[in-house]
Symmetry: C2
């Protein structure tokens, strides 16, 4: 009979292209990608071709063992899951609160899918983080570096403004909607991300200052088929620490009474109904979002320092 | 801010309950379980309670890195995928053919989901393998040991006959349909497995003898909602080697012209249509079946020697 073709894959850990690291966690290969992601990977691999950053396109992604296991142990208990209210979102940065580093849940109100994470990226700074959000939406192939199996397309409405280095981060990104297509689990989502000043989303300036947050990529998000309705709310709040960049992320997807402070946020329940989504499908979406977030941010940690060194000038 | 709660999980590799091993492969934790499997895991954990074999119920399953990666690289090419014809199934054991050790595909004829695997289990014998198929269907909690996240229920129509040690393996298992409920991906399937003498399924007695096959758990399978229609065909053919048990597995799911030799096998296309399944959903089912097979047989390899030592008398 044939001998095994299942030889251990060669590690690229020694590759110069992956000098970043995730602080204090044992990493393990991702063992599962849905079939549509497998097709997308091959499409992305073909598209990246001779792009100058092709060396940063990696098939072999790793995640912390303990993070993957934490997500497998079912949803968070209700008291661990925050609502998207102004009061709750300011607790994300409250040093007296202790949140699990990774988790998912469904909020009964809405209903609403909920995902949370915290990651420390060694060798990454908030400067690099802001640079990444201005650099990657210029070409979809750049976006594919971040999650080669799940990222499909990405462009902003005014790419010239996004690329204008004479302007600030806020001037380049805000009011410049980001059209994203990506797989979250086996389903691809077409989203329009409205990145916004975090204080306009309900975060308190004093809370941000005390926590030392110096970068944000936070947004209200609409699905492309219903661009008038806020369907999703996302926080990415980052600070520099002596261990590297620390990123706090939260995602709320679906409907929630607190979405009423955002454009079209009151129409979420009707949109959920139209999409045929219920509490069960939102619970699965919350877990898939958590797996997606775990995979893409742990991977970004490994490539961002080197990508920034090569193209950040 | 809180320190990480994501500590590395304690390994149970040193546990006496897991003395088995998979030959020549680097193992890695499974990083993904669909939400319905997470719920099933907790239900199974509660159910196993004080069963005498509860020590063999493990949450932390591992699979070979290279096997998981082989399945992520898209479907097999058509020439690597066998049909369920009599000519093709005898090629499974043809020493001149070289098949990938793990793979999935969709056969255009039918259409039909297709999954294949080969595994070597150190410390496992064909005697243990046959014993396992007679011992585990007596209680659903025994079945849950095999795949604690995905196995729901299992019983045979005549448990007294299955347990009658005065009879042969064939007398105990054949003609004694096995009612199984299990998750394959996020969907639970209720199946009726008709384990059958492999020569009755089309395997040549001389081919089996030459290959040294001394155990089989091969079956035609119906879904519980359509018990007259053969919807699935499964081969598990095992032999003893100096490295341990070598198992050749094949699964065909859906419809195929060659299913006509099995009861109700001509009605597969109508059943597929009624179930709303097409080529795309069958491709996903083939991958999910491959992930399921990879997980359960690599795990069985780690527990079977000890479970057999404790209960095989």
């Amino acid at each position: 009979m044939p001998t095994s073709q299942l030889e251990p894959a060669k590690t690229s850990a020694a590759s110069n292209a992956r000098v970043g690291a995730v602080v204090g966690r044992d990493l393990t290969p991702v063992t599962y990608y849905p079939v549509p992601m497998q097709r997308q990977f091959f499409a992305n691999q073909a598209a990246i071709g001779t792009k100058p950053y092709a060396e940063f396109f990696h098939p072999d992604l790793t995640v912390p063992i303990a993070w993957a296991k934490a997500l497998q142990r079912g949803p968070l208990s209700p008291e661990q899951a925050l609502s998207p209210s102004v009061a709750d979102i300011n607790q994300v940065l409250d040093p007296s609160r202790r949140f699990p580093d990774a988790g998912y849940a469904v909020l009964e109100e809405g209903p609403c899918a909920y995902t949370q994470s915290r990651i420390e990226m060694a060798g990454v700074t908030t400067d690099m983080f802001r640079w990444w959000f201005l650099w990657h939406p210029i070409e979809k192939e750049r976006y594919s570096l971040w999650f080669p199996w799940a990222h499909v397309d990405n462009y902003v409405e005014d790419p010239a403004r996004l690329a204008d280095t004479s302007l600030s981060y806020e001037q380049r990104l805000y009011g410049n909607p980001n059209h994203v297509e990506e797989f979250v689990g086996p389903s691809s989502l077409k989203l329009i991300m409205h990145f916004t000043e975090p204080t306009e989303l309900g975060l308190d300036a004093a809370v941000l200052r005390r926590a030392g947050i110096t970068a944000s990529a936070s947004a209200t998000i609409r699905v492309a088929d219903a661009p008038e309705i806020t369907f999703m709310f996302m926080l990415h709040l980052a600070r520099d620490t002596d261990r590297g960049l620390e990123l706090f992320s939260r995602y709320w997807i679906g409907a929630h009474p607190e979405f009423k402070r955002f454009p079209g946020g009151a129409d979420g329940p009707a949109l959920l109904k139209k999409m045929g989504m219920d509490r069960h499908s939102l619970e699965t979406l919350a877990y898939e979002m958590a797996v997606h977030d775990m995979t893409e941010f742990n991977h970004l940690a490994t490539i961002l320092p080197a990508v920034h060194r090569a193209f950040g000038h």
